[in-house]
Assembly symmetry: C2
Homo-oligomer: 335 residues x 2
DNA sequence: CAACACAATGTAAACGTTAACATTGGAACA
DNA sequence: TGTTCCAATGTTAACGTTTACATTGTGTTG
């Protein structure tokens, strides 16, 4: 191992001078600087990051807790996180939790052991185990999309899900639809409640019924979309428009509807959420709500880093703008 | 900061005893152990990971270099990496390079500065800058899918691309196709050469011509698939079967073909590579080659970790099995 | 009962770096 | 020429842990 001492001997200076040459070059004279840099090159020296971190007490690392890696929407968020983190000199530890609380705890505890400085949570659960809950007092943590279910308020970067689903509902009402259904993702989440409330508020204004048996689902997957659509098609009253709570569900729903011999949107309109890449290129292209996933990731890092630096946070909730993307999976209600 | 010293004072023992209680509990007496653990709990002590790592010189961290995060195939590999890493006690630093050499260097140099112990490369470039090339002598590094272009041979986990494209070619020949085209991904890569060679070898056996003007492409994206298919459709002789070098390209190609008023597979058969999730649910479901992405990731970690541990590696190249998935995007050639 | 072994614990040095403080020497100025 | 100041460098203690070595005490054995 080539360490700073070896370099200092090679250059005939003290270790402090070597350290200074690399960290704050203007504190050493030009002559010494050159001498040291030459020795650094000759020895092939690279400062040991672990050692400097243990001194500073900062690892300049953030952990991202994500339920799974195949969801392209999450990956776009993580792309934004990664980019912003790099710009700010942080690196990103990937925590694929697969929804398991044990894994969540394990990753979250990295920030208790100085392995990371902060934590971005893409789920809504409080990621610390009961044993660590008290230690986690005011640890830097930010959540994206979903508010973290905890006593203490952690900052959250989210979409206006209420307004977004109202926009979708208005869009479909404009096409004359009267029979709605929804295939929701994970139940018992903030998103679930807000989106459903948005839809309900619009339909209520038009006095269109929207009962529990018009709501199905349980996961944000293509398979759940297939199962949900299949279930809805078997109902006595077939819906003419289906809200899907993400694009994967919508892709599954479209697949199942077409497989059942019906057409989208002629027989049934389908709308999604997220605007993942592939949604624009399936048949028919999906009407959906664009979430600024990349920016959400970026913003999360900015908020987290200022939390790490101990700066007071302006507000504990940031709502980013959405955009309704009208494509061909939605159209006039059948007569 | 609650450190080991505070705990040792609280328990009335030395710091060494505290350390031993936590690392090798059988070396301390039951009475002391209990006393110490109580103090640990009372103080809310968690050992500082940075400090132990600087002692051991190992960070138990690996860096994964990935060109982009939206490609679901890469994400499945990373899922496998993440899983295997966790089982082996390693954590995963995400290095989204966006194809930029500077970023590659930056991430790769983490392993030179003890920020990480090893490196998994999902691209084929040698990720170290010219300045660091000599230092990178025998650093633990493994590549997945693509051989790293370097003098030293690094282990590679890959698919038998030659055999896989032969299988696809035979599949299409069995349907009576005579006019082929290919939309390739990144040119000048190992994958590009091997797959093309596989296709060529089969077509040559049947004395079917396959010229350069039947080959197009340049990126592994949906957009490249659209552009490629559009280009191919404008040729004087329209192909009846198109090899796409990944499923994203195939999705784009199918989109463009349908948009041009043609049908898949009745007019043109389209086959892909990777078997990403959505491929089974688009219209028509995609015939493709399943790559065991998850297992490739897992295997990469196993090889990398044994490299980190200094164990000699059995072989520098591992070829994992593929599987031809026949779906509905390929069919009989039009008459 | 002496000699020894061994289990349990303490002491202190190390890991590689950084930074507070100390020292040096030369320039500027009266 | 003596004082002051400051830039440049060195010395050394820290960061929080682990561990080699030293010490203690207890039990075993001849």
């Amino acid at each position: 191992m080539t360490n700073i001492k070896k370099v200092s001997e090679l250059a005939g200076v003290s270790t402090a001078t070597v350290s200074r040459t690399l960290k704050s070059p203007d504190q050493v004279s030009a002559a010494t600087r050159e001498k040291v840099l030459e020795a650094v090159k000759a020895a092939g020296y690279r400062p040991n990051w672990l050692a400097s971190s243990v001194k500073s007490g900062r690892s300049n690392t953030i952990v991202v807790l994500v339920p799974n890696l195949v969801n392209p929407f999450f990956m776009r968020i993580i792309g934004g996180i990664e980019q912003a983190a790099q710009e700010k000199g942080f690196s990103v530890l990937l925590g694929d939790t697969q929804g398991s609380p044990e894994r969540e705890h394990e990753y979250a505890s990295m920030v208790l052991t100085n392995r990371a400085d902060g934590l971005i949570q893409l789920e809504h659960s409080f990621p610390f185990s009961a044993a660590d809950a008290d230690l986690a007092g005011d640890l830097p943590m930010v959540s994206v999309c979903e508010r973290i279910h905890s006593e203490k308020k952690y900052p959250v970067i989210e979409l206006d899900n209420y307004a977004a689903s109202r926009a979708l509902a208005h869009h479909l009402l404009g096409y004359g639809h009267k029979h709605f259904a929804a295939i929701v993702g994970q139940v018992s989440s903030q998103i679930y409640r807000e989106r459903l409330a948005g839809i309900r508020s619009v339909l209520q204004e038009e006095q269109i019924p929207f009962e529990q048996n018009q709501i199905t689902g349980g996961a944000y997957t293509i398979e759940a979309g297939i199962a949900g659509a299949t279930h809805l098609l078997s109902q006595s009253v077939r819906p003419t428009a289906i809200f899907c709570f993400n694009d994967d569900i919508a892709i599954g729903a479209v697949h199942a509807i077409k497989k059942a011999g019906l057409r989208v949107p002629e027989d049934i309109s389908v709308v999604g959420f997220d605007n993942i890449k592939v949604s624009a290129f399936i048949d028919p292209p999906l009407t959906t709500v664009d979430q600024p996933a990349y920016d959400m990731g970026r913003r999360a890092v900015e908020v987290l880093v200022s939390q790490i630096r101990g700066e007071p946070l302006a507000r504990s909730k940031e709502v980013l703008p959405f955009q309704l993307i009208e494509r061909e999976s939605s159209g006039p209600a059948p007569v």
